[in-house]
C-alpha cells in the first residue's frame, strides 16, 4: 500500500477526470471561506460595537440594507457561476462522453456482502453469461460454465487490476444489498444497486497500489469491505492477466497480452 500521509486537503488525484473535481472543490472552499470570514468579521464587529453599555441605546429605524443587497446578489451570482460554469459542465462531461468501447478495458463488478467480485472478459473480449442460480462458493459470479466466451474470463475477488493510461469501464452491480464502489484517489464513487448494472468509467494516470472502500452501509462487514486497486503499467498488466488466466481447456491460449 503506498502509505500516504493524508494532509488537510484531498489525497492526490490519479485520474484524468479528477483534476476538474479538485478544481471545483478548491474554488468552492475558497468561496465558502471568503463568505464565512466576511460574515464573521462583520458579525464580531456588531457584537462588540453594539454591546449593551450605559448610555448606549438601540436604533429603532432599521439601517438601509444596500450593502446586504449587493452581498446577497454577489452570493447568488457566484452560485450561478459555480452551478452552470463549473459543476454542471464537469458533471455532464464526465457522465456523457463514454470512452471508446474498443479501446477501453471492460470489467464487470458484482459486489456482495463484504467482497468485491471483478470479472475480466479475457482474450475474446466477451463476458461469459452468468445466472444468479449458478452462484456458489467457488463461482461467486455464477458464470455459466458451458458458455464458450466465459471460458477465458478472469475472476478476481477484492483485487482490481487496471492498466494505467487506458480508459476502464466498470459495470457495477450487486448481488444482495446496496454497496458503493468508491476509490478516493481515482475520484470514483458509484452505488452498486442490486438489479441494475450501472457503468462508471475512469482513466488512471499514475501506477501504484491504492484501495477501494465500500461507501454505503451494507451490513456488519461494511467496514472491512476493502479491495486492493493495483494500477499497473501495460507490461505488468499483461503479465498479470496471462499468469492468472484460467487454465486453457482445449485450444492452447497464447499468453500474448490481449490487444484490441
Amino acid at each position: 500500500m503506498d502509505e500516504k500521509i493524508y494532509g488537510w486537503w484531498l489525497p492526490p488525484d490519479v485520474s484524468v477526470h479528477g483534476a476538474k473535481i479538485d478544481q471545483l472543490m478548491s474554488v468552492l472552499h475558497w468561496f465558502m471561506a471568503l463568505l464565512f470570514i466576511g460574515w464573521g468579521v462583520f458579525f464580531v464587529y456588531c457584537l462588540i460595537r453594539f454591546r449593551a453599555r450605559p448610555g448606549h441605546v438601540a436604533m429603532y429605524t432599521p439601517v438601509k440594507g444596500i450593502a446586504t443587497k449587493y452581498i446577497e446578489g454577489f452570493v447568488v451570482v457566484v452560485e450561478i457561476l459555480l452551478l452552470f460554469g463549473l459543476s454542471t459542465p464537469v458533471w455532464l462531461a464526465y457522465k456523457n462522453n463514454v470512452p471508446d468501447a474498443a479501446k477501453a478495458l471492460h470489467i464487470r463488478l458484482v459486489a456482495e456482502q463484504f467482497a468485491w467480485n471483478f470479472q475480466y472478459p479475457g482474450k475474446d473480449g466477451k463476458f461469459g453469461k452468468s445466472d444468479p442460480s449458478l452462484i456458489s462458493g467457488d463461482n461467486p459470479l455464477g458464470v455459466d460454465p458451458e458458455d464458450p466466451s466465459g471460458k477465458d474470463d478472469l475472476v478476481t475477488v477484492n483485487q482490481l487490476h487496471i492498466p494505467v493510461n487506458r480508459p476502464v469501464i466498470v459495470a457495477v452491480s450487486s448481488k444482495d444489498v446496496i454497496h458503493s464502489f468508491n476509490i478516493p484517489v481515482l475520484r470514483v464513487k458509484q452505488d452498486t444497486i442490486p438489479g441494475q448494472q450501472i457503468p462508471i468509467w475512469f482513466e488512471a494516470t499514475q501506477a501504484g497500489h491504492f484501495e477501494l472502500a465500500c461507501a454505503q452501509l451494507c451490513g456488519l462487514g461494511h467496514y472491512r469491505m476493502r479491495a486492493d486497486v493495483l494500477i499497473d503499467t501495460p507490461e505488468e498488466f499483461a503479465k498479470w492477466a496471462a499468469e492468472n488466466a484460467p487454465p486453457p481447456q482445449e485450444e492452447p491460449a497464447a499468453a500474448a497480452p490481449e490487444k484490441k
Binding site: K95, N96, V98, A101, I169, A171, Q196, Q197, I198, P199, W201
Partner: protein, 104 residues
C-alpha cells in the same frame, strides 16, 4: 356550506341525485370502455379522464368545493402541487435513460 337555512339545502337535493346517477353511468362507461381493449396509453388516458370527471363531481357537489372558502382552496392547491411532484419526480428520475452504455 355555511349555516344555510332549511330551504337552501332542499334546493340542492336535485343536484345530488343528478350527480349520483351521473357517477353510476360513468362507472358503467369506464367498465364498458375497458372491454374495448384499447391500446395501453389510450386506455390509460380515457380511464383517467373518466375517473377525474367522477372525482371532480364528487368533490364539487358532494364535498361542496364549488362554494368553499379561500383557505381551503389554498390548502388544496398546495397539496395538488406536491401530489403532482410526488407522482412525477420519482418516476422521471428512475426512468430517465442513463447516459452511456446500453444494457443499463
Amino acid at each position: 356550506m355555511d349555516a344555510a337555512g332549511h330551504e337552501d339545502v332542499s334546493r340542492h337535493m336535485g343536484k345530488y341525485y343528478v350527480v349520483f346517477v351521473a357517477l353510476l353511468c360513468l362507472t358503467a362507461v369506464t367498465v364498458g370502455v375497458s372491454y374495448l381493449h384499447l391500446t395501453r396509453p389510450l386506455a390509460i388516458t380515457v380511464a383517467l379522464i373518466i375517473a377525474a370527471v367522477k372525482a371532480g363531481m364528487v368533490a364539487a357537489v358532494f364535498m361542496h368545493l364549488i362554494s368553499e372558502k379561500k383557505v381551503i382552496y389554498a390548502v388544496l392547491i398546495l397539496t395538488a402541487l406536491f401530489f403532482a411532484l410526488l407522482l412525477a419526480l420519482p418516476n422521471l428520475t428512475t426512468f430517465e435513460h442513463h447516459s452511456g452504455m446500453p444494457g443499463t
